[in-house]
Structures are given as structure tokens and as C-alpha cells.
Subunit: 204 residues, 2 copies
DNA sequence: GTCTATAAAGGGATAGAC
DNA sequence: GTCTATCCCTTTATAGAC
């Protein structure tokens, strides 16, 4: 509750810290977490590896901070959409668009989340990854089940299978989508929804 | 061309070699290639790490042999399908079914191919991974483009985007599909095709 | 085909000077 | 906030005995 400085995170997020974290995220995303050494990160930053430990406790701390920040933002977006109380079809559209926008804005973070979650989840420290996955599943299957009731989605479809299908197909786009490329996140989301909805949308 | 022994691979594939390779594949798939140590593999086999080098030159050789074997088999299946000269819609069905069956039969290999290709492709030795990807792309986009011409698939669809969509959505299923579980490979392929084809199939 | 023993390199992390 | 210097551990891989 310090005066005159509202929006700044508490501990020395002096800019340099964020800068180093962004560099680490890029490397973790490109080479993989295990294959990236703290020396790689330091090299990219133009400092020596020992100096990194002035900013972070450990390599684990870095990826931890990256993932927590990303997930907080993503679930914040999701909760806003759910709170809007749209029809299931529109909620699904909004969730897909928000997800592709996060791939656009947080490309490295999404790649780390997709590629490293399984490895990291085995350590206690990253237990929140499993919790978030469960939350994620509850949210999406809820929307799908609602839509089956209202007739927005095809009657009799297997909600669990369709959920996994959507989850995987959305996030896996991070493998080829390039922010700033020919296709905007919105355009990809629309192309994706065109394929998806003509498949699962209920027909009268 | 040694007599009396037809179907055996040339160098000491005495069974033990295949056994060790299967163990390594499981570990590479579960923990990731970089995170799996040769000691992990040796432990799983009940021998010491040095003993592994009686069978294999290096850790790289192991994953190399695993991937080559898998890709040879997969592309063999694909070529048989292409040689049958089916209509584009049926060719696509057959390719999808063959892919899900390979996820069923070669689960660990598919997981390694999906998760480690990007990392391995940076080394010269694994240059064939990029070649195979290109071959893969040519094959699938050819089928899709054919189908647009014949009317099997929706006119005006973006063949490149749909190709990436199919490629990613098929292989990413390895993340949740469990061989021997409630859903058979065939059942998953059918569910998948039901979603996919009602989205991209041309309507008269 | 496996073990013993060990080399050589690279990994994460620390203490204290500047 | 970064550097110097270095510790300690793990990793891949080898040589030769059994």
C-alpha cells in the first residue's frame, strides 16, 4: 500500500527484471525449458550467468513467474467472457477469439505452457498447472454442455471428446502462428471457427 | 544375403536391442528426450549406463533409430493409400484413420515425433525430419486441392490453413489418447472425421 | 552382454569484490 | 547490477575386465 506508486508490482520489477524474464521466455519457448541453460539466458542478456541470480532465485523461479503471469491474464480474460452471460455459441466464439489473441500477444508464454506443462507438473512447485487445467476443463465443458441443451450445438455430441479436440486444436496453433505475420489472430480464429462450428453447430 | 534368416535386420537386432529401444522410446515420450538421461534408460533396463554403449553409439543414435523406424512405417502406410487411387474424400478418410492407428500402435514414437522434432531438427543428423515434413505437406495439400477440384471439399477453402489444422489436430491427439483405453483408434478417427468433414465437406 | 571405474564436459548455483 | 572465481553435481561417453 505504498503511496504514489499504484500499478507497479511489489518487488523490484524495475524493468530490467521484466526484460530478463521476456528473454528467458523466448529461449524457453524456442529451445525448450530443459535444453535452455542459464548461461544461454545470460548470454542473450549480455551478462554473466551468476548475475542472473541477483534477479531470480533459480531457473525454476523464472519459468514459474512466466507461467503464473500468463495464466492469471488468460483466466482473467476467460472470466470476463463468462461474466457477460452470452449464449453458449457466442461464449464459445469469444473464448476461441480470446485464446487466439493470447497466442498473438503472449506467444512465448503459450508455447511454454503447451510444451513444458507436462514436464513441470511433476514438481510440487508447479501443482497449480494441474489446478488450472481442471478449471479450464470445467469452463469449456460447461459451455459445450449448455450449448447442447439450448440447441446451439449438435445434440448427442460427446462433450468430453469435443472439449479435448477444441483445447488441443486451439493451443497447438502456437506451433505455426507467427505474431505480425500475414494472418491476424482474429483471422485465424475466424477460419478456425468456420471449420469447427459447421461441424458441431446444431442444425434445425 | 545370409541364408536361413530372412526377416532379421542385419546388425544384432537380437531382441535385446529392440527391447532397449522400446524402453528408451517410452522414457523419451514420457519425460522428454533432453530430460531423459542414459542412466534413466539403463535403470529401466536393469543394467548400468555404460552397458548401453555396447548396443548403441550414443543417446542420439537411439532416438534416431526410433524416429527413422517410425517414419518409414508411417510413410509406407501413406504410400499404400495414395497408390489405391481413391477419391479425395476417401483418401483423406484413409489417411486420418492410418494416422490414428499409428498413434495407437506406435504411441511413444508419435509422441517423440510430435514433441522432439523441433529440438532435434536443429542438428544435421536429423535433417531428414524437415524432409519428411515437406513430403508430408505435399501429400496432404495435394489431397485437399484435388478434393476442392472434384467438389469433395468446400470450394474456396484455404488449403494451407486446413492442412495445418488437420496435421496438428491429428497428431496432438497423442497427448490424451491411450492405447487399450475405452476409445479405439478407429472410434476416435470416426469422431474426429465427423467434426472435420461436416466442416470442410462440399455441399451441393 | 554386462560390470567396474573413470574421464571430460557442462549444468545450476553461490560468495564476495567492484 | 554485474563480474570474478569457483564449487559441486550430473551428464554423456570410454576402456578394459569378466
Amino acid at each position: 500500500m505504498s503511496p504514489h506508486r499504484a500499478a507497479e508490482p511489489q518487488h523490484a520489477s524495475s524493468g530490467r527484471r521484466a526484460e530478463l524474464l521476456a528473454l528467458a521466455a523466448t529461449l524457453f519457448a524456442e529451445r525448450g525449458f530443459v535444453a535452455t541453460t542459464v548461461r544461454d539466458i545470460a548470454d542473450a542478456a549480455g551478462i554473466l550467468s551468476g548475475s542472473l541470480y541477483h534477479h531470480f532465485d533459480s531457473k525454476d523461479s523464472m519459468v514459474d513467474e512466466i507461467l503464473r503471469g500468463f495464466l492469471d491474464e488468460l483466466f482473467g480474460d476467460y472470466r470476463k467472457i463468462m461474466a457477460a452471460g452470452l449464449a453458449p455459441g457466442d461464449t464459445l466464439r469469444a473464448l476461441v477469439v480470446a485464446s487466439f489473441e493470447s497466442i498473438d500477444r503472449r506467444h512465448a508464454e503459450v508455447a511454454i505452457f503447451l510444451n513444458e506443462s507436462k514436464y513441470l507438473a511433476q514438481f510440487e512447485r508447479f501443482g497449480y498447472l494441474a489446478e488450472r487445467s481442471a478449471e479450464f476443463r470445467t469452463l469449456w465443458t460447461g459451455v459445450l454442455a449448455d450449448g447442447v441443451r439450448t440447441g446451439d450445438f449438435r445434440a448427442g455430441m460427446d462433450v468430453e471428446v469435443v472439449y479435448r479436440f477444441i483445447r488441443d486444436t486451439v493451443w497447438v496453433a502456437v506451433r505455426w502462428y507467427r505474431p505480425g505475420g500475414a494472418l491476424s489472430a482474429r483471422a485465424v480464429a475466424d477460419e478456425y471457427l468456420a471449420i469447427l462450428l459447421d461441424g458441431i453447430a446444431g442444425r434445425p
